[in-house]
Symmetry: C2
Subunit: 204 residues, 2 copies
């Protein structure tokens, strides 16, 4: 086993054992999940990804059947940061997650400035709509799950209006994040986040 110091991932062990392979695999996927959200699904190549993960190109196909297979896996991993965001909001609310708490966690400048750790819909929606069948399936599952999570947070109105509100909230959140990233003027960018936050707060 060899100890590697790498710019991207810090210090890690690289070797030939099965455990080493699993760690390398995870490292590639986690990195791809970030880079894809940052640069788009076509924005970074296999060679650069492997280099950032501290390995060489040739080994790629020991881990993935194709680039598209990595994309599908990385997008699934990227979506987990949504779950992580939900969890963090829950922690801030002292374990009692509210719709407002989630909104506040999502519609913030830090999220605008860091697509690589943020919502995959906001970072990649058009790419996902055009993507490989497997990747699209992953995105569709997450879309349904996200609507369900928001629906349950909004409340127990049994007339179906909480689901409708959840869909509106998700749309507004994703749209606002996309547009706030487009705005070069920081104050406009903030205005978009704040206007949407205020309006969505009143929704529930």
């Amino acid at each position: 086993m060899v100890i590697i110091q790498n710019r991207q991932e810090g210090i890690f062990a690289m070797g030939h054992s099965q455990a080493d392979k699993a760690r390398t695999h995870e490292r590639i996927v986690e990195l791809a999940a970030k880079r894809f959200r940052e640069k788009g699904l076509d924005g970074i190549g296999v060679a650069d990804l492997m280099k950032d993960a501290g390995v060489t190109v040739g080994g790629f196909y020991k881990h993935f059947a194709s680039r598209d297979a990595l994309v599908a896996e990385a997008v699934a991993t990227a979506f987990k940061s949504w779950d992580r965001m939900v969890d963090e909001a829950r922690a801030k609310d002292d374990g009692l997650l509210t719709f407002t708490g989630l909104l506040e966690q999502y519609l913030i400048e830090d999220h605008t400035d860091n697509p690589s750790d943020g919502c995959t819909f906001a970072a990649l929606a058009p790419d996902l709509a055009r993507s490989d069948i497997r990747t699209k399936a992953v995105a569709n599952e997450q879309l349904k799950r996200s609507i369900d999570v928001l629906t349950s947070l909004i409340g127990a109105a049994d007339d179906g209006s909480s689901r409708q509100k959840a869909i509106v909230a998700l749309s507004a959140m994703v749209g606002a994040m996309s547009l706030s990233r487009l705005a070069e003027d920081k104050s406009l960018s903030r205005e978009i986040l704040q206007a949407t936050l205020a309006a969505m707060r009143q929704l529930a």
Copy 2:
């Protein structure tokens, strides 16, 4: 002058006159504006674009300094279909355009199914955020203009709330369109459009 019959553009004249050049230029830009929205800013190459426009690759640089220059021009043209959408909504409202009329023109299945003729934000927001400085400038101008148009449609509340509502509406519209394109399930796709339409109607 030569008469050309082409799959993409029908019958058109191709020649060497200045007027011919202007027509060819316009044809390339209009086509690029569609294809980019359909396939993403990296989704189609110079050669294919020129072929679709009925000319050969070599002539490209008689029209554009670089691919990026075409992207900037095509994105500007693509945004004009927003203006066109506003105009069409105005025509449907018998010249008296309303906020609701515009919402109804935007949040429809036909728009979901045809990105190539639709809203550039919904089709390309993440691409635009990562794009060339000129393209980004074009997108920023349009963002401000779109907010202004919606603000004036929503009403003359002078407390600034109509601008806030305009921003929320734009965010929700763009987000809903992006997500409805992602949804493989047609009924979910429609549900997203309808939920957002209903909620935004109540906004103004």
